[in-house]
Symmetry: C2
Subunit: 236 residues, 2 copies
Amino acid sequence: MLSATEENYLKALIKISEKNSVDGKVGTNELAVDLGVKPATVNDMLKRLKDKKLIDYEKYGKIKITKSGKKSGIEIIRRHRLWETFLFDKLKFTWDEVHEVAELLEHVNNPKLIERLDEFLNHPQFDPHGDVIPNSKGKIIIHFKKTLSNAKVGQAVKMVAMKENSDVLLKHLFELGLGINKTLKVIKIQPFDLSMNILVDKKAITISNKLAENIFVVCKECKVIGECNKKMCELE
Amino acid sequence: MLSATEENYLKALIKISEKNSVDGKVGTNELAVDLGVKPATVNDMLKRLKDKKLIDYEKYGKIKITKSGKKSGIEIIRRHRLWETFLFDKLKFTWDEVHEVAELLEHVNNPKLIERLDEFLNHPQFDPHGDVIPNSKGKIIIHFKKTLSNAKVGQAVKMVAMKENSDVLLKHLFELGLGINKTLKVIKIQPFDLSMNILVDKKAITISNKLAENIFVVCKECKVIGECNKKMCELE
DNA sequence: TATAAAAGTTAGGTTAATCTAACAAAAATT
DNA sequence: AATTTTTGTTAGATTAACCTAACTTTTATA
Ligand SMILES: [Mn+2]
Ligand SMILES: [Mn+2]
Ligand SMILES: [Mn+2]
Ligand SMILES: [Mn+2]
């Protein structure tokens, strides 16, 4: 059994090692900054995590999460993102409110709860920020995401994520009636500035090329999103 | 801010003092047994709870929860019962599975979460065990519950709770198609053994007087359940 | 009422998670 | 290569929540 604190270390380790994509190794100070604690505190915890075989680590060396550590960590990320989806879809929290509450809910460890929640939410693939929700086997489906600016006239695409999570972008999208999982159909592209006329919820709107470059989409017809731009998808 | 442990002490205190209805005072050992810890541990915590003005307590004296302690405690009970309702109504957990998970979820302290959950569940008044859910002001609507055995021929009543929560009773009710919030109409009462013919979901069933004495009901017509057997309610 | 039983307290110890302050090793810069 | 900066470790404290063992007070009962 993992404590909430240990769970947070694993999440942080996964997040940072994804950023440090060279070798996926992480430093003590880096972890301390991310978790908002002192390096001495991290050092203590590293010993416990090593004992539990959740990390590989030698004194003065770099930290590397183990297979087992990653498995647990991904499970926490799954819980976090499912709760975010619940809060957004069902309880009508806004995009920027969900994270804080999910930070608490993610530590409630009951497998049946998470499976039932997943079912209740209709096995969502993305959380409200467009991040992929790992499946119940801990597998993260890799999405070959393209931006809306790659879509062609006449094409229908599904919005799956945003390039950044800033408030200005979010508010802008909200005002335009855009959001995760919405279906967009490209009506026209202006050759001059590449701005697009698109159809959302039967309403025609115009969006700039700059905005289109910040919206990740997948081909509407693709059932298996992970295989999107391989065979049938028209997005390039 | 209260820790999960402190919250559990307040819940236990409210539960036990309701049972010790003479003066509502509780002893150290009693609390220890209920919480599954040693009396010495309780003694430690009593000092902390007293410092936080959540209990009144003098050395070798009895423990009495304060106004403020009760307010917090009822808030936890509200969360617990709302989560139980969520698990039962939305995630299709069974009656006997919800408590364990709600024990964890109840400690997630976010007011907006609870208000939204309450809304999402349509402001339920009872949890899946028939216990009253305190409202957002911490008020517990007092129900003048009567057992089904008090109902008269021709009367329609709503099932609100069970006298006990045993598995045998639950299974029996389930097999008969009975459950919380179901509307029951009394068709006939056998003078010999007081067994009842009742209508549930348009189906006629027969139940023994013993069972009828274990089912709490309120008059179907009463909007304000708390005022049930005062004015309009036919139940006596 | 004296004594035994029950209830409650205290002292001293443990563990997880945090801290500060001092120190040591590794890396970067001159 | 020497020095400085950055990074990481250790020692020693603290706090909440638990424990055991010994002790004290209250209550019950012979
Ligand atoms: Mn988040
Ligand atoms: Mn967290
Ligand atoms: Mn319960
Ligand atoms: Mn609890």
